[in-house]
Every structure is written in structure tokens, then in C-alpha cells.
């Protein structure tokens, strides 16, 4: 079982200090773990023309897919996508406040949708077709997300900056209809540095559940899988501002192996309905 340090009411400066703590010597992801994980996932979820699966922290924690029906955009679903660049704009000084930054991001995406090649079903097209009222609501929700993110970590100090609003980590399993998704909202460390280990931060809603640590470990694993040439992340920090709780998972090879096992358990759960259907004998 992966362990974590539990903090209560950690200030933005304290979270930033945790992210900046010196990391243990660099350690890279074991190539055998990466290969074994891919092989096992191909066996559990063979490519048969069925739906693609996505395994993320939510799936690992809850044991169920993030959503079962067709995905539809709404203000809640869009808030992180819009709020993350809004937080980045405020942290870099491009915008003065989260609401103005979020409104600019909404306008930017809506404008981009008229260009050729806009992704069907994407947020940009949805925003472009939505009434002004909905766009304003999305900006407000995103501003709330950005304010929470900026409030939970001090983005700049003489000790160095925290990169806010970095892209998520993705790992497409070769030969299997499954994508691993690691969320990350802020990081410390140079992603291109040869021996620099990243410290990742993830902002979460509500209360940490009993398997919150496993979800954070998955975020670290996907980060490592997405950039195998880079050292493992040093730690993954989860912040639950609704509850005032912070969990810090020190990430290493053992935690990566435990997270890989959780991925396999989640994949088996996702595969179970398929196997159940396969095992039903055809009517005579």
C-alpha cells in the first residue's frame, strides 16, 4: 500500500516549499515495468474493435469509468480546461485576475473554432455555438478553478517559480485500446533536465477518498510512462481545497510498481463486462 504525508490547512507557501524540496537521486522508470504493463494490458483488453478505455485517477480510486453515457460539454466539465490556462495567464502576469483571464480564454477558443480543422465535439466548437450566457457561466466556473489553483500554491518566489497549468500526461498503450491519463495542474522542475526530478501538484474536488493516494500514484506513473527518458517524478502532491487537506506521495520505483498493479486491477474491472458478454452462450 502506498503511503502519504497528510497535511491540514497547508498555506500556498508551504505547498510551494514541499514542491521545491530537494529530491533524492534521480531514478528512471524500469523499462521492464513499462513493457510488462503494456503486455498485460494487451492481454486484458485486446483490440477487438470495441470502445477505447481511459484509465485515470478517478477510475483507479472509484473502480468505475469517469462517465458511462455519451460525453456532453457543460460548464462543470469545461472549468478545468479553461481554468488551467487562465491560472497560467494570471501567474505569468498576462492577466490581472482569474475572471478576466478565463473570459479571454473562452473568447480565444470560440474564435479558434472557426478555423479549419477544429475538432468535432471539442470544447471550442461547443463554446462557439453556445449562447453568451453559457460562455459567461463557463468563464465564471473556470475562474473559480483558477482561483483555487492559484490559492493553493505560491507560484513565484525568490526560490524559483512553480509552473502552473502544464499539460496533462498521456500514455497510449501500444496494441491495446486503452489510454492512461495522468492529471497535473502545476509542477516544479525543468521537464527537459537530464537529472532533474519533477514535483507534481494536482488540484482535487471534495474530500480525499480512501484510495486517494493510489490515484495520486497513478498520476506519477503516467508522468513517468509518458517521458521514459526523464527521471521519475520526485513526489506527487494532491490538494483538496474544499477540505483544506494536502497529501504528499513520495514517488519512487516501488510506488510506480504499486501504481502499475492498480492499473491492471482497473483494466480487469473495465474488461469484465466484455468478458461477461463473450462468455454468454449463443442461443440455440
Amino acid at each position: 500500500m502506498t503511503s502519504a504525508v497528510h497535511l491540514r490547512n497547508a498555506s500556498a507557501g508551504e505547498v510551494a516549499a514541499i514542491l521545491r524540496e530537494p529530491s533524492p537521486p534521480a531514478e528512471v522508470l524500469d523499462a521492464r515495468l513499462r513493457a510488462a504493463l503494456s503486455t498485460r494490458l494487451r492481454a486484458i483488453l485486446p483490440r477487438r474493435g470495441g470502445p477505447r478505455h481511459r484509465i485515470d485517477g478517478y477510475v483507479v480510486e472509484k473502480g468505475a469509468p469517469s462517465f458511462t453515457g455519451p460525453f456532453l460539454w457543460n460548464a462543470r466539465a469545461a472549468r478545468r480546461v479553461l481554468g488551467t490556462p487562465a491560472a497560467r495567464a494570471v501567474a505569468s502576469g498576462v492577466a490581472g485576475d482569474p475572471l478576466t483571464a478565463a473570459a479571454s480564454e473562452v473568447d480565444r477558443l470560440a474564435t479558434r473554432s472557426v478555423r479549419p480543422g477544429a475538432r468535432p465535439g471539442g470544447l471550442a466548437l461547443w463554446l462557439a455555438s453556445a449562447p453568451e450566457v453559457v460562455r459567461s457561466l463557463c468563464a465564471l466556473e473556470a475562474a473559480g478553478w483558477a482561483t483555487s489553483l492559484l490559492g493553493c500554491v505560491e507560484t513565484s518566489s525568490p526560490l524559483g517559480s512553480v509552473a502552473v497549468g502544464i499539460p496533462d500526461a498521456w500514455f497510449e498503450v501500444p496494441g491495446a485500446p486503452v489510454t492512461l491519463h495522468g492529471r497535473r495542474d502545476a509542477a516544479v522542475g525543468a521537464p527537459s533536465g537530464a537529472d532533474c526530478r519533477l514535483s507534481l501538484l494536482r488540484l482535487r474536488d471534495g474530500l480525499p477518498g480512501p484510495r486517494a493516494v493510489e490515484g495520486l500514484a497513478l498520476d506519477g506513473l503516467v508522468d513517468a510512462l509518458s517521458a521514459p527518458e526523464r527521471p521519475l517524478p520526485a513526489r506527487v502532491v494532491g490538494v483538496w481545497p474544499d477540505a483544506g487537506v494536502t497529501l504528499v506521495v513520495a514517488f519512487d520505483g516501488d510506488v510506480a510498481r504499486a501504481a502499475a498493479r492498480e492499473v491492471l486491477v482497473a483494466a480487469e474491472r473495465l474488461a469484465r463486462p466484455l468478458q461477461t458478454l463473450d462468455s454468454v452462450p449463443e442461443a440455440a
Partner: protein, 302 residues
Amino acid sequence: MTATHRTARATRKIEKTTANADASTDATYATVTAGLHTHLVALLQTPLPTSEDDLLGALRGTPALRPAVDRGIASGLRAWLEDGVFAALGAPSAGSVRLSTSSIAGSAPRGGATALLRGSLVAQLVRLHVAGVEPSDPFDDAACALEASGRDDDLVTMLCDLDPDDHARLHAEVLAHASVLAERFPRVSPRWMPRCGVRQAIPLAGGGVQLRGIVDVALGASGGERANVCLIEVTTSVLEARHERVLAYLALLETLRTGETPLRVAAMSTADGAFVVHDVTPTLLAAAVGDVLQAVSECGGR
């Protein structure tokens, strides 16, 4: 000039300031440094009017006169709550007790589906108001926002299924509340970091008890030297005694959530435009702890 002379002079100035305040003059005087190293000077920003006409003015007050953030009180309040929960329930299993604002302060008399929809639609209007939108048709805009919110799908279905008479009545009610809201809730500057629907979820007793609340509008950011977070509860009913308890409860959760006491809390009614504003004081927070422990002991008695 010796230090003694400077102190004596500053003291005389303070007396003068007090006299001025008693005379209700416009200017407010303060020292630039805490140690009375400077003369008393008139603040450039005179206090905002705290009349019954200005909700945000009464909430925000004069920034320079805000109290320092109290970062020590949260742990004491939490310890008090933890002791009380243990005395009432022992060690409850995870998630066995969930308390919300209605558990603490009681809920409004049930008004059926129309009342539920009215509250949700007005909540959307508050969001749009804070986002700077001036609705052309408040009812349609609120319904559109409710549908796009992604949080209340059941209510959207309920709205679609409403019979024409109820729909017409709801339409009229929402327009009336929208009118009061537009008139009595001032515009909110984006620089005040407005957030709507801020969720609070505080675990106690290792997660055995969960205290939950939702703040309709929060202004200001925590983390500074002075308290500047203000919480606003917007209700479609007339203000009652229970709203005072709701405000104290939300202030308690905010203190436990951030480790800092908010500056002020307010409740505003869109039924008649009335509002109340309270400073968040240790007394207010202690009253909220009492309410929570009362609700916890009632849970234990069931």
C-alpha cells in the same frame, strides 16, 4: 525630539482622532506604522458607507482597517469539535454522519417543485450577475445557465416537465427576484476574485463526520496579512433567524478549510432586498461550534 515627546504627541493625536470619530466626521486617521513612528494621517479612502443600501460596501469596509488574519483559531475550533464529536458519537465509521446547512440551521418550509426551481434559477442569476452579464430575459437566461451548469440535470428535467400554469407562475417569480437582485446586489469587480458555489467539505473524527456547505458568493483571497475573504449567502426567502446560524456555520467551515478566519459574512434576500452583515468574530465561530455539536448529538441520539 525624544521618544517620550513623540509618544506624547501621538497620544494627543489619538485623542483627537477619537473625538473626530465621535463627531462622525468624514475623515479617518491612522498611523502609517504600528509603533507610532509617524504622525497620524488622514486615510485617502474614507470608509465606505455601511448603510442598508450598500451590501458590498458594508461587507468590504475600509481595506486599511481590516483586522490581521487569525491563523491560530482554526486548530482550537477543530480540537473543540473533535472532542465534542468523540463525546457524542465515539469513533463513527467513515462517512456515517453528514451535516449540511439545513442540518445545522433548519431548512425553509417546503414549497414543492416550484420553490426548488425558483431557488436554482435565482442561484444561476446570481452567478450571471457576478460574471457581469446583464440578462436580456432573466428567466430564459437562468434556465439556459441551469441546463449548461452540468450540476442539476434533475432540475432541468423538472423544469421541462412543469405544467403551463406553474411555468407561468415560476416565470413571474423569477423576474421579480431578478429585479431585486439587479437593484440591490452591486456589480462585483473581477479584481475581488469572485467565486460562486464554493464547496466546503470538512472531515472530522477521521472522516466519520463530514461538515458540508456551499457558499453562494465568495470574495477576496486568503493568504494575506489581513482578513479579506467575504462570504455571501443569497436566499429567495425572507431573512429569518436561521440565516444567522447559516452564516456562522459557513464562516466556521471556511475557517477550518483555509485555516484563516474570513472577514465578514452576509445574507441577502432576493424576496425583499434585505441583507445582514456580520464580522466574523470568535464569538460567532463559537456559536457555530455549538450548533454543530448540537446537530451531532442529535445524530447520536437517533
